[in-house]
């Protein structure tokens, strides 16, 4: 009895050990490819602390251009993914600071929580650049540069499309937000709501619900909001991304309402959203290029590493408004 028990435990442990070893070995070999491929004479060690990666559509198309730019510029990237958990990212930041890299690229999981990470990096003399979502204004002097979309600005652009479409008309709209508590969701909503209040107060937000970045959640939420406020009172819909706006459009169709008769805007211009703009169901969206984002995260980091700290601090992804006029344009071809 005891012998079998020991044998079993031993087999289990050997298997576990084997997994540990093979996993680390695999990781090492994948890292090794970048060595010596640099354009310059130097190879830089850079940690990229991201909150998503191959677990989300955006991250999946963000990473390859980032890696390609790093290979080209001779930067050895170590990428982490905290899955939007602030505590996880804080711990990864400690790991990064302890490893003493030449630079840290930070994509904040929760913007309000990164101050200690920045302070620690500063104390260790490691420069930090920010990608995708900027840190709070009071924390910006602890960072060298920012590149990426202006998440607040995307909300602004989407609201501007809405205001242009509506003109002076008195209209009621529905709002579908991203995942509750998520910083991109919060910023986009703030940008949209602020701009509507400032530029076209004739647009009234009748109801708001989270769509969790999901098409199905958004579809049900929009349908229920239509019931709540009465479909006849709704002349427009804003959703915080294209996936959710696709759900909103399906909800309208399921009710026999022609989406083209409503003012509908969103953010993204993705594979799902672009065709909807072309077909006229979606009136306008704001292009967010994951490849621009990933590539420039590394290019800006390289500039800082080689002493050419960019000025101004921010390199904003152009918030290109995509409407029926330019939806076929190759420069706004969807990426994810």
């Amino acid at each position: 009895m005891r012998n079998t028990r020991i044998t079993f435990s031993a087999i289990g442990l050997v298997a576990a050990a084997g997994l540990v070893l093979s996993g680390c070995a695999a990781a090492d070999s994948s890292d090794g490819g970048t060595d010596g491929a640099g354009a310059g004479d130097e190879t830089f060690e850079v940690y990229a602390l991201l909150p998503q990666g191959t677990d989300q559509p955006y991250g999946t198309t963000y990473l390859p251009p980032m890696q390609a730019a790093a290979d080209e510029l001779g930067i050895n990237l170590t990428i982490t993914n905290s899955q939007y958990d602030a505590d996880q990212q804080a711990s990864e930041c400690e790991v990064a600071v302890a490893a003493q890299p030449d630079l840290i690229i930070l994509w904040p999981a929760v913007g309000d929580t990164v101050r200690p990470c920045l302070a620690a990096a500063n104390a260790a003399g490691i420069p930090v650049t920010v990608t995708n979502s900027d840190v709070n204004p009071e924390d910006q002097d602890l960072t060298e540069a920012y590149s990426g979309p202006d998440t607040y600005g995307q909300g602004v652009s989407s609201a501007e499309i809405m205001c242009d479409l509506v003109g002076g008309e008195e209209v009621g709209i529905l709002v579908v937000n991203g995942l509750t508590g998520n910083s991109t969701a919060i910023n986009r909503n703030a940008g949209f709501v602020d701009t509507i209040e400032a530029n076209c107060p004739n647009v009234t937000i009748l109801a708001e619900q989270p769509g969790n970045w999901n098409k199905d959640d958004s579809q049900i939420a929009v349908s229920e909001m239509l019931t709540a406020v009465g479909p006849e009172n709704v002349q427009g819909i804003y959703a915080a991304d294209d996936t959710m706006v696709a759900g909103a459009i399906d909800a309208l169709k399921a009710r026999g309402i022609d989406p083209a008769s409503l003012y509908i805007t969103s953010i993204g211009n993705t594979f799902l959203g672009n065709p909807l703009v072309v077909s006229g169901e979606l009136d306008g969206t704001v292009f967010q290029s994951s490849s621009w984002d990933g590539e420039n995260a590394v290019r800006v980091a390289y500039d800082v590493l080689t002493g050419n700290t960019p000025s101004p601090r921010e390199l904003f992804m152009p918030s290109v408004k995509v409407t029926a006029d330019n939806a076929d344009d190759p420069s706004v071809a969807p990426e994810w």
Partner: protein
């Protein structure tokens, strides 16, 4: 392979001849529950030492991660030892963080957060002890309700601390690698270890978890012990919420999404039996070290997060199916079915 596992085998040959202390050792070892945790920890340490020695040179980071995983797990252990569960720990962590950050005065905020944890523990215990519903369901309800409360109180946004500098100062090491988080973790461990092994009330936790009816018959105030257990768990979870809020300078209503599962994993790997009665906080500590070192090593090697998850899942699965008691039961099952097949064959 740990010596803890090998020793009993030798005693099978020598034990009879020598008797005395060897038998005693054998009994002690058989009674310990930390064997698997220790074995896993050894493997992880050896593998990390060979492949990612940075794990140990930057030990303050590793310690920080262990404290992050382990603190909530320690409180959870007290509840699990009594055969109860507390699924609400992660939501408790989020709510107490939000409560703390919403109050401008730092110390008042900390006190309010700790009180929140104790109140939540008392509510959990009320449902389990007074109303008499299963702790799994009661705390499942609290998991939803408290997460919702955290969103409502925070207006669905992270709440920044009023005194950000205090938060940053809190995150700095006091002495060598010892940050306040690590210090509080060690204190919580020592306090619980003493309570569960040296204090009568704490030792009774094992009796309550091992055989509830026997505990009642022996005159142990079972209800009061369960209340104590949930108070400990709620208090420790709110302590973790306070530490996280201070270190991050803000309270995130979505905080703790990975805490619940990681702390369960740490306790289980450390040999704490979910049905109660067996296990130790030492085991949980070992479990937290194994997981923490493993995670840091994988992060340092740049292993992507999905592969890390597969890894941790496989190790957890191996840990739970190689539980000696489970294996014994499984083997007994096989043997009896073989025997019955033999019996079935012979008469024909």
């Amino acid at each position: 392979m740990s010596t803890a596992e090998k020793q009993p085998q030798t005693t099978m040959h020598l034990g009879a001849a020598r008797g005395g202390w060897f038998d005693q050792l054998k009994v002690t070892l058989a009674r310990r529950t930390e064997g698997r945790g220790l074995a896993l920890l050894s493997v992880v340490i050896v593998a990390a030492a060979i492949l990612e020695p940075v794990v140990f040179t930057s030990y303050q980071v590793t310690l920080g991660r262990v404290a992050l995983i382990g603190l909530v797990a320690l409180g959870l252990t007290a509840v699990i030892l009594m055969g109860e569960l507390d699924l609400s720990v992660a939501s408790t962590l989020a709510v107490s963080g939000v409560v703390m950050a919403s109050i401008p005065d730092l110390w008042l905020g900390i006190l309010a957060a700790l009180a929140t944890g104790l109140i939540i523990g008392a509510i959990n215990a009320f449902f389990v002890v007074v109303v008499g519903i299963n702790s799994f369901i009661a705390t499942l309800g609290m998991l939803f309700a408290l997460r919702g409360l955290a969103f409502v109180l925070s207006d669905e946004k992270p709440v920044r601390l009023t005194d950000i500098d205090a938060g940053i100062a809190f995150g700095a090491p006091l002495l060598g690698p010892i940050t306040p988080r690590v210090l509080l973790f060690v204190l919580a461990f020592v306090a619980l270890q003493i309570f569960l092994t040296r204090v009568k009330a704490g030792r009774e936790f094992y009796a309550v978890g091992g055989n509830r009816q026997a505990a009642v018959d022996a005159g142990i105030p079972v209800r009061r012990r369960i209340l104590t257990g949930f108070l400990i768990s709620g208090f420790v979870a709110s302590l973790a919420g306070i530490i996280n809020t201070l270190e991050r300078t803000a309270a995130d209503p979505t905080a703790g999404s990975t805490v619940l599962l990681a702390s369960f994993a740490a306790a289980i790997i450390g040999g704490v039996v979910l049905n109660g009665g067996r296990g130790s906080v030492l085991g949980t500590l070992i479990g937290a070290f194994s997981l923490g070192i493993l995670q840091i090593a994988l992060t340092l090697s740049g292993v992507q997060v999905d592969i890390q998850d597969i890894f941790i899942g496989v190790i957890l699965l191996l840990a739970v199916i190689t539980d000696p008691t489970n294996l014994r039961a499984a083997l007994a099952g096989v043997r009896s079915s073989l025997r019955s097949r033999e019996r079935a064959q012979t008469p024909v």
